[in-house]
């Protein structure tokens, strides 16, 4: 069954949930489609997302179903259409925008940080700003320094914003649905290297909620590995390797970058006594420093060794494939780091 057929099938019994094996890309499409059906106040804007289904095909079929007024191709003007999302939200709509590459969040940074994230607060809490900003980021596809960033940390310090990062189809589906229903601005960072990865997702599930913190994806007793986006897969692969040597690593997907809630990670560390974080970003200004700092305050006495952070280097990512690959944290490197701490 193609994604479209699957969704057509789901359409007949919209409230009937069925666990399906789908791709991350299909999960995004399914979430958008179901939520746009559910609430006529939703609409989506972005570059070339209409008839073409989106440069990464993350809006496939939406234009056909919802038409040009709810699935809107925009000019190349991220400040314009991201700002427009705020105007829509203030006047009763629930806009979703797609930023083609997360790297382009730079051109609309002001609208997000200064307008969208602060508007409710500055109004004294008198307005609501239900806005979803989806941005596709990430390295590994040889797109060079300006098209390979996850941008995870750019808006990490901006109060008033929620930031979530799905690492598998199930999360992509559930978290995006919840984000669309959330009455606050939510930045959804998706990873383009994950688009074709497959996994089981409860398609048709109506009862969704924004996650309130990290999620344990694989339990383990000997070490805690926390990762986001594409690094989660690397962490799981590292856990597989470690398992062969009898080391049981617990793998946690941080999944909600803001507001950050490290309690589940601290709980894990209280059991494993070892913490390793893996982040597809430069060594400074990222969530892994926040996680380490917070875990240290919450579980200081339980740490057997200083937590280790695995990140990108402190320079832009190179284009050349071997170089790019060498800088993306690998399962080997993660596993070796864990072992070095045991």
């Amino acid at each position: 069954m193609t994604a479209n057929e699957k969704m057509a099938a789901a359409e007949l019994k919209p409230l009937q949930m069925a666990i399906q094996e789908i791709t991350y890309r299909e999960a995004i499409v399914a979430a958008l489609r179901e939520e746009m059906r559910r609430d006529p106040k939703t609409l989506i804007m972005g570059e070339d997302i209409g008839a073409s289904g989106g440069p990464f095909k993350t809006c496939q079929g939406l234009y056909e179903e919802f038409g040009a007024s709810r699935v809107r191709d925009t000019p190349i003007a991220e400040t314009g259409f991201v700002g427009a999302a705020l105007g829509l939200a203030l006047t009763g709509y629930r806009p979703i925008v797609e930023i083609m590459f997360a790297d382009f969040l730079g051109v609309c940074f002001d609208q997000i940080a200064n307008s969208i994230a602060k508007h409710r607060f500055m109004s004294g809490g008198r307005v609501k700003t239900p806005i979803v900003i989806r941005a596709l980021g990430g390295a590994g596809l040889r797109f060079g320094a300006q098209h390979s960033q996850t941008a995870e940390s750019w808006l990490l310090s901006v109060p008033g914003l929620k930031i979530i990062c799905p690492s598998n189809p199930e999360q992509a589906y559930l978290m995006l649905k919840a984000a669309i229903r959330d009455d606050n601005p939510v930045l959804v960072l998706e990873h383009k290297a994950l688009l074709s990865t497959k996994g089981a997702a409860p398609i048709g599930l109506d009862d969704v909620a924004m996650p309130t913190g990290p999620r344990v994806l694989r339990p383990g007793r000997h070490a805690t590995i926390v990762a986001s986006l594409a690094m989660v897969g690397k962490a799981l692969a590292a856990a597989d390797r470690l398992a062969l040597e009898g080391i049981e690593a617990e793998v946690i997907d941080v999944q909600v970058l803001r507001p950050l809630n490290v309690s589940p990670i601290s709980d894990s560390v209280r059991r494993t006594n070892i913490l390793v974080t893996v982040e597809e970003q430069a060594p400074t200004g990222g969530w892994s420093s926040d996680v380490v700092a917070d875990v240290v305050s919450q579980a200081f006495d339980f740490l057997d060794a200083p937590p280790a952070r695995i990140t990108l280097p402190d320079h832009p990512l190179p284009y050349s494939p071997h170089l790019e690959d060498s800088f993306i944290p690998s399962p080997e490197r993660i596993a070796a780091t864990v072992k070095s701490l045991l």
Partner: protein
């Protein structure tokens, strides 16, 4: 002074002619109220009741009042840090406005926003934007909302001449035109950014030239003639309600005071200031209504006295209002 603006001013006099006598008097009273409000803000600023900084619109009252008169209650309005006049013209409560400027719990935004961020969603006042140009894309979104809802609302966006050089302006006008949204862009061209004359930063003085390049309907308006502003706004609004798409009104005007706080505005030639003070929109319109026999000089004086005392009373109440509680749930003001 701008000859062409003055010449063009009543081009759409038809619309202005439709105003009742009451409406015309009401316009004067709105302008007086805004003037009195701003004068009080200045005094309060010097007394330390208004904090940080404040940007007054004295001299630009005709734009606020004239445009507001052309709107329905359910229209959307956005503006800048220099937005007190727009808020009052839409009916924001005087005390709520003062209390916000004073940082009190009873302020329009509970004291969280301040002078630059007066918002009152119940009056369609969707927001004051402190970042130059940032309000324009937001107004475009409100215009899209109006178009989608199909209730013939419009979205009006106020901004200054300095804003036409920033990217957000450009992106907003293009999107509004391509999507034919009911957005009225009102540029209050007061000839200066902070301290720079428009010709120092823009190739010409008439910003309609720029707006026209989006294939948008534009109109050059004498922004110190409230009936001209009303007429132009009414025309643009009527077309926009009727799916005629966006419009750009350039209102030539002048701020009587400096950019903010206590800026003495020394960068302006005394002769220029003097010439504009002679064209004070409030005096001009007051004289016009008196000359037309609609009101007497003493009526006008009475309006001023009434406004002044309403303003004073509101400021006094605001000054006596409690400070916002330190114990309130600030996170609930951040996220729903």
């Amino acid at each position: 002074m701008n000859e062409r603006a003055a010449g063009n001013a009543r081009a759409s006099d038809g619309a202005a002619a439709a105003l009742t006598d009451e409406d015309r008097i009401d316009l004067l009273r709105t302008m007086i109220m805004i003037r009195e409000f701003e004068e009080q803000v200045q005094r309060s600023y010097l007394e330390g009741l208004v904090h940080g900084t404040t940007h007054l619109c004295n001299g630009q009252e005709a734009v606020c009042a004239g445009v507001a008169k052309a709107l329905r209650d359910d229209d959307y309005v956005s503006y800048t840090y220099r937005g007190h006049g727009q808020c009052l013209a839409r009916g924001m409560d005087l005390e709520a406005a003062f209390a916000e400027l004073f940082g009190r719990a009873t302020g329009a935004c509970g004291g969280l926003g301040g002078s630059m961020h007066l918002t009152d969603i119940d009056h369609g006042l969707i927001g004051a934007f402190g970042i130059v140009g940032a309000g324009l894309p937001v107004a475009v979104g409100a215009g899209l909302s109006a178009q989608l809802a199909g209730r013939k609302q419009v979205s009006v966006c106020f901004f200054g001449d300095g804003a036409v050089n920033i990217g957000a302006f450009h992106e907003a006008l293009n999107i509004a035109q391509v999507w034919r949204l009911p957005v009225i862009f009102v540029c209050e061209n007061n000839l200066y950014g902070e301290f720079s004359h428009i010709l120092h930063t823009t190739p010409y003085e008439d910003l309609v030239i720029r707006a026209a390049s989006y294939a948008m309907r534009t109109e050059l308006v004498d922004g110190n003639d409230v009936l001209a502003v009303y007429a132009a706004a009414a025309g643009a609004v009527a077309r926009a309600r009727d799916n005629g798409g966006p419009a750009f009104l350039e209102c030539k005007t002048y701020r009587h005071r400096g950019h903010s706080r206590t800026d003495p505005a020394k960068y302006r030639a005394p002769a220029e200031v003097e010439a504009w003070l002679k064209r004070d929109p409030l005096s001009l319109y007051r004289a016009e209504l008196c000359a037309a026999g609609l009101i007497s000089e003493s009526d006008a004086d009475r309006f001023t006295i009434e406004a002044r005392s309403a303003v004073k009373a509101a400021a006094d109440r605001a000054a006596a209002a409690p400070w916002p509680s330190l114990k309130q749930d600030f996170m609930a003001k951040t996220f729903v």
